[in-house]
Subunit: 281 residues, 2 copies
Amino acid sequence: MSRLSLNQWTTKRWSVAEAVEGCVRHGVEAIGLWRQDVARQGLEQSAKLVRDAGLRVSSLCRGGFLTSGGAEALDDNRRAIDEAAALEAGCLVMVVGGLPGVVPDEPLGSGDRGVDRDLAGARERVAEALAELAPYAGERGVRLALEPLHPMYCADRAVLSTLEQALDLAEPYPSEQVGVVVDTFHVWWDPHVLAQIARAGDRIASYQVCDFLHPIPANALLGRGVMGDGVIDFTSLTGAVTAAGYTGDVEVEIFNADVWATDPDEVLARVKARFGELIGL
Amino acid sequence: MSRLSLNQWTTKRWSVAEAVEGCVRHGVEAIGLWRQDVARQGLEQSAKLVRDAGLRVSSLCRGGFLTSGGAEALDDNRRAIDEAAALEAGCLVMVVGGLPGVVPDEPLGSGDRGVDRDLAGARERVAEALAELAPYAGERGVRLALEPLHPMYCADRAVLSTLEQALDLAEPYPSEQVGVVVDTFHVWWDPHVLAQIARAGDRIASYQVCDFLHPIPANALLGRGVMGDGVIDFTSLTGAVTAAGYTGDVEVEIFNADVWATDPDEVLARVKARFGELIGL
């Protein structure tokens, strides 16, 4: 029995219904869903589809973008928590947001937004927002999963750049309320990653795998590759996650223009083969 | 009296002779040189040009690329040390190299090179090579300056990703023999950067400034911008470097296609203005 989970954006052109069918067709037992696609399919119908197919929902992507403060972001995160509860997702992945005024894929200064360069302040606002959201999640049985992102996304997507930071943020809360994501792409370079995975222990809410491509493509967000196509040593990372006691699903999440242009069934077959070969869980 | 130093690759089309003239014309008192350009100009002539112009050579770029091991890399680094001595450079910048088999700007697997994914092993080889090179540098009065590079260059250019790592590596050696580079572009995201700058103290061999652009351009190496054009808060970093006791030159090093396409005199004028406004040293 494999612990492989298909993150839906690996087969991005598939709807929730198609991805669920794809998982069943390929014998994949778990799926990671995205809020946008769930909304398109309908929340109730998405929940029914995965339930009827007997799939586990390993994660819902994603809450977060909390660094600019304000009630609107908190409200949206409460809705995300409610959706994760309805889907019985293993966790809600939290991408905490970048510097206020920096928008992914948009040049600086566009739309008359000024950049707030106070990185320490942005990081503090994440902690403050977490204090609001963690109890709300706890009441609904949803686990927030703080995801440190590769430092190249610090400005626009996540001021949370290391597993150590994520664990420091999570520490005040019960581990079933706030965990962390270990995503090989984001953490492989970190000199402290193995020690921090050991420290994480039962805080590991999600283990996500994909490779780090070289060279980084023109759109730096799409530098994720199928395991084996890049520079990451999966043996040490997977070994550390296993030694830390993690027994949950292992999500394959690949943002990649070539992968997205390929027939999703072919992608899923290749992912399964490489998963067996390089992850082996 | 300004501590601004022009790193020669900010005005990349200028030869050593032209860059020296440019510095004199704009009242810039120090210059950072590159080995390739020095070789083209001639080592002796380059040394004479800067000496006659009364310029300080804040750094020579660069030694390093030590992760694949082998005598050839050590020999080349010894030559770089000799060149730094001849130029009376403040330090020799060390970009330590990435994973063996990963070549900057070349797709993986090209040229029949296999990738060695053992990151910890590559990091150990840097420490071993340093043990060979530090005494050699010390005998010639050259200071090696270990440069942590942004983690997005971990695979191809530097397995040294944080200031903490660089300081750990430098620790066994006298600080006049092995120091570190603090380059705003590479370290701004690091949650520990201010503490590590304080720890560095007189290990700081070079303070380099440029901005981190958003979005990251198609060639990720060229994401360096003129101060003020990106997302970095220079106040906190410059304040920390000053508080650590650094009184040396401050090099502006910008790899950027638009900057390189601009008349170098215009670039230098803009750099001077922004340096005054945002660095103020």
